[in-house]
Symmetry: C2
Subunit: 399 residues, 2 copies
């Protein structure tokens, strides 16, 4: 049916490409490109028993001209951007120039400010319309599936949604006292940034980690979770009519937070170099060298993720509560694609979004978040491709 150019070769790209190769009626040709071509080749080597024609390329995603040249050479129907969030704009520019559909899983972040905002990408609306191409923003799990859940709830279960609580629980255990899936600096930013949620038309800021709740997650159990800002709050606050409040909560274990705090306290997470035996060394880089290699975690991580949305609103004049969520097992994901659930829950929705564009079901010139399309084929895709959803009509609520 169509050709996809995947840019990026990390855990999420690995899952998305393997899922495309499973879905070979839709993805007839896939090229994987990244700065390090050997990583692309490793991904392709994982794809067995597929009719999809797979290839690889080397590309610097920061270099729009290089991306344009690659697009012209491969001539894909869609570019699936699974590179770094810093690189969204340079890749979008290449899509405009070559009139190629675009999809990503995380919104643009300026390297220096670490402030998630859609405004940089929403500014491409007219350019995409003029080029006649579709830009899908944030087609991972959160953002992504959580926004599709909101569109689905509004379409089928509510006349009006008044509050949304997005709950992101990772109940995985890698057996180390402390390790990070990715750069600890990003972890530290996350827990040291102010919290933010939207209520009655206004953004309300809180101290970092100031709002804490305990929640009993299906198939995971009781976990502490903390209110954070997350990018889908911006698009859903704008797009869901009648919404009065939307919040986002993420689970963090007490031990994880204690270790992170202690390491920060003693200066081990600093990015200011210190002089050690005549050499300038950045403490954070030394810490990463001491910690377990993130790529070694997948194999040993057990447990499940549980991510979803609790909606409250009105249906046929009555109050209604509704919880939509997915449970994903780290070890099952690892067995299927060699990556644990954190990559799996992001890579599968990227494939589904790209599939809907290729099938013409989610084609609309401009740039849009996933809540702005018909949720039904996406919801079917989740059930078909490994992230089945569950619903609960009387869930525990978050106060």
């Amino acid at each position: 049916m169509g050709k996809a150019l995947v840019i990026g070769a990390g855990g999420v790209a690995s899952v998305a490409v393997q899922k495309m190769a499973q879905n070979d009626d839709v993805f007839t040709e896939v090229m994987v490109a990244s700065r390090t071509e050997s990583k692309c080749q490793d991904i392709v080597a994982r794809c067995q028993n597929t009719k999809t024609k797979l290839s690889t390329a080397q590309v610097d995603a920061d270099d729009t001209a290089a991306v344009v040249a690659l697009i012209k050479a491969f001539d894909p129907d869609i570019v699936v951007n699974l590179a770094l969030p810093y690189q969204d704009l340079s890749i979008m520019d290449a899509c405009v120039e070559t009139k190629t559909h675009y999809l990503d899983t995380a919104n643009y972040e300026h390297p220096d400010t670490a402030k998630f905002e859609y405004k940089w990408q929403w500014a491409y609306m007219d350019k995409f319309k003029e080029a006649g191409i579709t830009g899908i923003l944030g087609s991972g799990f959160d953002p992504g599936v959580t926004s599709v859940f909101a569109a689905y709830a509004l379409k089928h279960e509510f006349d009006e949604i008044n509050t949304i609580d997005i709950l992101d629980c990772n109940g995985g255990d890698h057996g180390y006292p402390f390790a990070t899936n990715f750069n600890p600096e990003i972890n530290i930013r996350e827990v040291s940034a102010n919290g933010r949620y939207w209520e009655n038309g206004e953004w309300i800021e809180t101290e970092p980690m100031a709002i804490k709740r305990e929640y009993n997650f299906d198939e995971v159990g009781k976990k502490d979770m903390y209110l954070l800002y997350h990018e889908e709050l911006e698009s859903l606050a704008k797009n869901i009519p009648g919404l009065r409040r939307i919040r986002f909560f993420m689970t963090f274990g007490e031990s994880y937070l204690t270790h992170l705090k202690c390491l920060e306290n003693v200066g081990m997470t600093s990015i200011e170099p210190i002089n050690f035996q005549g050499q300038e060394i950045i403490p954070l880089q030394f810490l990463q060298a001491v910690l377990p290699d993130p790529s070694s975690l997948g194999e040993r991580t057990v447990g499940k993720t549980n991510i979803g949305c609790i909606f409250r609103g009105k249906k046929d004049g009555k109050d209604k509560t509704y919880y939509l969520y997915n449970v994903c097992d780290h070890q099952e994901a690892y067995k299927e694609v060699g990556s644990q659930a954190v990559s799996y829950t992001t890579g599968v929705p990227a494939m589904i979004g790209a599939m809907l564009v290729l099938k013409g079901l989610w084609e609309r010139p401009g740039v849009y978040t996933v809540d702005e399309f018909d949720p039904d084929p996406f919801m079917d895709g989740l059930n078909e491709w490994g992230l089945p959803w569950r619903q609960d009509f009387s869930p525990e609520l978050v106060d």
Copy 2:
């Protein structure tokens, strides 16, 4: 009156030498010797308005022949060993060879085993007797003052002492989330070693930090303290007749322990080198480079230490309880001698012990711990030289 050779130039030596210079009727001549002579010169420069004749020398305390040569050249009446515990035996050998009195503040520890035992030094009994010289073992605060307290209590307050609890509280605050006064490796050994106490003639081992109590210390307040093994338990269990139980407790803050544990968990306290950017680096050494310089802590440490012994026993046929302790203020110590209370409480008793030898009050051929001498002149010395003691006849007890 006499000449002292002080070996060592750390914080304790700095306090002891300054106190000797204050006590210039007794200490007519003092030489300070260490591996780094400039550190000795810094100590001498702190001593103003004194009749004591001060000098410095370079010496390797591991090298008995070098210490013998220095003793022969300077001809001291006593060698005051404030070097590393690893060096006790090489210095004792030099004292035997030159027939010079000896005093230290910490018992011999083998570099590889970190096991505090008196047997290595008690083995010098006959050699010291034959040489006609006095060897005073452990004349710091603990061991040292705590043992003198026991001898004093037995002489004046009890017919029989049945239990002793030694309580060592450091209520100092340097204002950092985490810092160590010395090598963090030694701190880690301390908290990860098994606890041990003596009861009814037997040593009882516990898991590390397994016995925890809260105690309300005079002038400090409530602190958590943990049962540890400490070297004076061995000599007091042997020397105090009628003793049924002796224990030692040291305070550690929860935050201090948490930081230490986290750093251990992530591997930052390991002494196994890791490869970092092509170079072998020991994580513990890198950690020390990141932590505040221990020498910078004295100036900013506020608060007090409170160290003492709670005795229970019989007097005139009745049960009796008695608490002897000293409170020392970090900032007052720093103002007087440029070192905080941890060094002050060790350096002052070293000077007092040496003074009693020079005065002939504690002269007895052989090697002895300080509880084996008349405690009265030592107790007077504490009041005169900056560590006044207090007594409480109805103290809070430790269960």
